[in-house]
Symmetry: C2
Subunit: 142 residues, 2 copies
Amino acid sequence: MNKTTLFHKLVAFTTSVHRVTHELTKDAKADHITSVQYNILELIAVSQPVTPSQISDCQHLSLPNTSRELKKLREKNLIEKVGDPEDGRKQHIRLTKEGEQMMDKSFQLIETRFLNRIQNASKEDLDEIDQAIDILQRKLFY
Amino acid sequence: MNKTTLFHKLVAFTTSVHRVTHELTKDAKADHITSVQYNILELIAVSQPVTPSQISDCQHLSLPNTSRELKKLREKNLIEKVGDPEDGRKQHIRLTKEGEQMMDKSFQLIETRFLNRIQNASKEDLDEIDQAIDILQRKLFY
DNA sequence: CCACCTACTTATCATTTGATAAGCAAAATA
DNA sequence: TATTTTGCTTATCAAATGATAAGTAGGTGG
């Protein structure tokens, strides 16, 4: 296996992943939030509670801009902010009930589309997919 | 293999793919072009020649906005436009010499980072990665 | 030939996003 | 205790992006 050949394969592969991700997630976000806001909500949903700094790091967004978007999300009642009792500078962000519901709805739509995509896969196919993901996760996308 | 479990795994996986893609490609684009423009150039580089309509479809960009960005890229001498001899409405877009050079430079940087990432992988690892990509490409990200 | 459709362009406007400066309070450090 | 650093916020400006209307020229089918 030539490494440069593998690289070209990787390029094609990541392109496919991006394309399929887009197909699965398109229109999954409510109209009243922007893409950046949706990405932030996704991050919070998966790993709440998070601090603005963590969001800033993960989303490659400056802290001022992160702060601005979080403020907008708070005004929409999708997230809430709790001060850290140990460190008065830190803030912990989590979804509100309303935010949870909104994200649940999005995730469900995405999952439905995913299930639809693999509906014809056999049990063996699913096992293969599962193992392939493990390998790539461990050896390439760590 | 439970399908919902697999779905959660896929979510984590695509997140990793996006993160690593970002690591490999960050700052790969020249400063004087925007991300949207870079993505367009990448598409052209990989599948030239392409028509504005094709670019519009693949990049999920309206035709007017595609046209605007292509105009900017033409003004920067990175792409050129050739009319279709059979259908006077169509345009074929390809990279100029300068555009090719720019994209080559980007791709080389990305490849270097990729090689660096897999430098410790054994021959067996590479074969496994190769096969795993094939499986996912065929059964999930088609 | 005429109406309609396709491929693309130009123009314009609102919104989103990115970048930067300045400020504040809490915590760490000297 | 004075100074610096950290975590976050507010404000402001420029640039990028998205959406839409309107126009041109070439093609297609009646």
